[in-house]
Amino acid sequence: MSALLDVRGLRVRFDTPGGTVHAVNDVSYTLADGETLGVVGESGSGKSVHVLAMLGLIPRPPGRIEAGEVIFAGRDLLRLSEAELRDVRGGEIGIIFQDPMTALNPVLTVGRQIAEPLMRHRGLSRARAWARAAELLELVGIADPGRRLAQYPHQFSGGMRQRVMIAIAIACDPKLLIADEPTTALDVTVQAQILRLVRDLKARMGMSVIWITHDMGVVAGIADAVQVMYGGRIVERGPVRAIFKDPRNAYTWGLLRALPDHGRRSHRRLHQIEGQPPDLTLPPEGDPFAPRNPFATPRCFTETPPLVPAADAAPGHLVAAWYDLPRLLAEREGAR
């Protein structure tokens, strides 16, 4: 698999009255053709902002891209004009957001909102675009597409609106689909339907997917690889099974331990990650998780660890940590 997306040294800042927010700090990764990458992290981790920044969707000011390159299909997205970026968004890159109601235009029919990008990006005639829009609605599981095309977004339920967003996002056969917490606002039964839909579409169309979420369960089901972000940095990245079964960063490990055990009733006390998320207005120094990390070494507080291949781990498993988590966990087990 070759790289479809190559993010290098991306650094995003927000200048606010409270100081400069170091939102994204030297984020580098590649996404292979056809790969589904789950990006997890909590609010302020940079998981959404880094993607919005590379698509030209952060307000500037206060936002600013301080450094980096985002090579997508051979071009640096950060060097494109606004008009060129608009062509990429909704063309080669489809986007789904958490709240379809704010992403959809309430005064335009759903049909027009699906057909318009087809006319703009693909040069289809109005009639062809509408016919294709009806096919797309059917593809995303909306019954009676002919009638539904003439309706407005408020006439759709939350789950159906998200299906409409997906229809728009995939209309131009994108090479990359970016989904930013698309199921967070939905009920679990609807979420399950949307997850299945995206899996089916991906199998059929072969696109790459970046799926941003805070839900480890969603990631477990949909992602080939997982990237964990904290304090604007990637702290761990690897094949989905390696991340869940053999985490090497203490934050990843803590996140997984903070979830209740599934499928069996155990009343162990939930593992808590002590403390609060980092204040990103302070210049990043050291490992951002160090103040909350029971395994932190003195070096964690002064020097930022690079993201490097983890020792004796699965191929492609990278971690940013100065400590050797498996050894520390084994020692802790031994001390019990």
């Binding site: 909590e42 609010s43 939350g158 009920d187 679990v188 039964t189 979420q191 399950a192 339907q193 997850l195 299945r196 805070h214 839900d215 480890m216 369960g217 969603v218 990631v219 477990a220 089901g221 989905v240 099974r241 869940f244 803590g254 996140l255 997984l256 903070a258 979830l259 209740p260 055990d261 599934h262 499928g263 009733r265 009343h267 006390r269 939930l270 593992h271 808590q272 990650i273 002590e274 609060q276 998320p277």
Partner: protein, 307 residues
């Protein structure tokens, strides 16, 4: 269905009997009207010191139920008994002593806090309203003790809500809720808005407070894995009705209602070995009609299903 059939023990702390909340909504330009049955005849009981989970999706009526229990909304029919006394018909003035014993924790602590009030004053407010700790110094001591109890530094009492993170704000909300030493806390999606690493902190705090004070919780949530972890019994709501109610293990391991089964099968499991290739069970809501007077059937010890 009668409440005693599902009550736990002889004298439950809270008993809800055939509770209903119907809204009459007018159509466009006043043409016609229709009734929304937000809560449509539900019964359950909560024992002292018990954590009772109420789960369901948006529009199921679970949050309305929480508000009805506290009389923040008036029921259209049915009864709410608290510690044996029928509080359904009490005038608001007579509710004050009851209110002291039942408190609420909301989903969004920020919306619940007054942005222009220090968090210390916010926690002290119920003490003032109920005439407890009238002396300022005594009140400050009580507030400091409450802050420590929920894991906040008492020196932060003079700060304003925007100076806190989401998890800290929820701790402030909990400090206020326990200020009057209640017997029951209605917790309406109390961890939904919090980051995963903070959710565990708050859930552990709920459990510590329960152990220490014998609190009972009505834990309203859509996060089923946390409900399974935290609750002794669970009721599943769908379209204003309780469709299944029982011990947590029975609900999660032996669900009988098709909606419960579909709901449980839809929860993603944070383990790629289990989650991949799993198919959620479909559920056709239109294929299911419950008669208004449909009784619940006991299918196991304390396990009831709307047949």
């Amino acid at each position: 269905m009668t409440a005693p059939a599902i009550a736990q023990g002889p004298a439950p702390l809270l008993a809800v009997e055939n509770l209903k909340r119907h809204y009459v909504t007018r159509g466009f330009l006043g043409r016609g009207s229709y009734t929304v049955k937000a809560v449509d005849g539900i019964s359950f009981a909560i024992a002292r010191g018990e954590t009772f989970g109420l789960v369901g999706e948006s529009g199921s009526g679970k949050s309305t139920t929480g508000r009805l229990v506290l009389r923040l909304e008036e029921p259209s029919a049915g009864r709410v008994r608290f510690d044996g006394a029928d509080i359904t018909a009490l005038p608001q003035s007579a509710l004050k002593p009851v209110r002291r014993r039942m408190q609420i924790v909301f989903q969004d602590p920020y919306a619940a806090l007054n942005p222009r009030m220090t968090v210390g004053d916010f926690v002290a407010e119920p003490l003032i309203v109920h005439g407890l700790a009238p002396a300022r110094s005594e009140r400050e001591d009580r507030v400091a003790a409450l802050f420590r109890k929920v894991g906040l530094d008492p020196r932060f009492a003079g700060r304003y809500p925007h100076q806190f993170s989401g998890g800290q704000r929820q701790r402030v909300g909990i400090a206020r809720a326990i200020a009057l030493e209640p017997d029951l806390i209605v917790a309406d999606e109390p961890i939904t808005a919090l980051d995963v690493s903070i959710q565990a902190q708050i859930v552990n705090l709920f459990q510590d407070l329960q152990e220490e004070h014998g609190l009972a919780y009505l834990f309203i949530a859509h996060d089923l894995s946390m409900v399974r972890y935290l609750c002794r019994r669970v009721a599943v709501m769908w379209r204003g009705r309780i469709v299944e109610l029982g011990p947590t293990d029975a609900i999660f391991e032996d669900a009988r209602h098709p909606y419960t089964r579909s709901l449980l099968s839809s929860v993603p499991i944070p383990d790629p070995d289990q989650e991949r290739g799993r198919q959620p069970l479909p559920f056709d809501p239109d294929a299911l009609r419950h008669a208004p007077d449909q009784p619940m059937v006991e299918v196991g010890a304390g396990h009831f299903v709307l047949a």
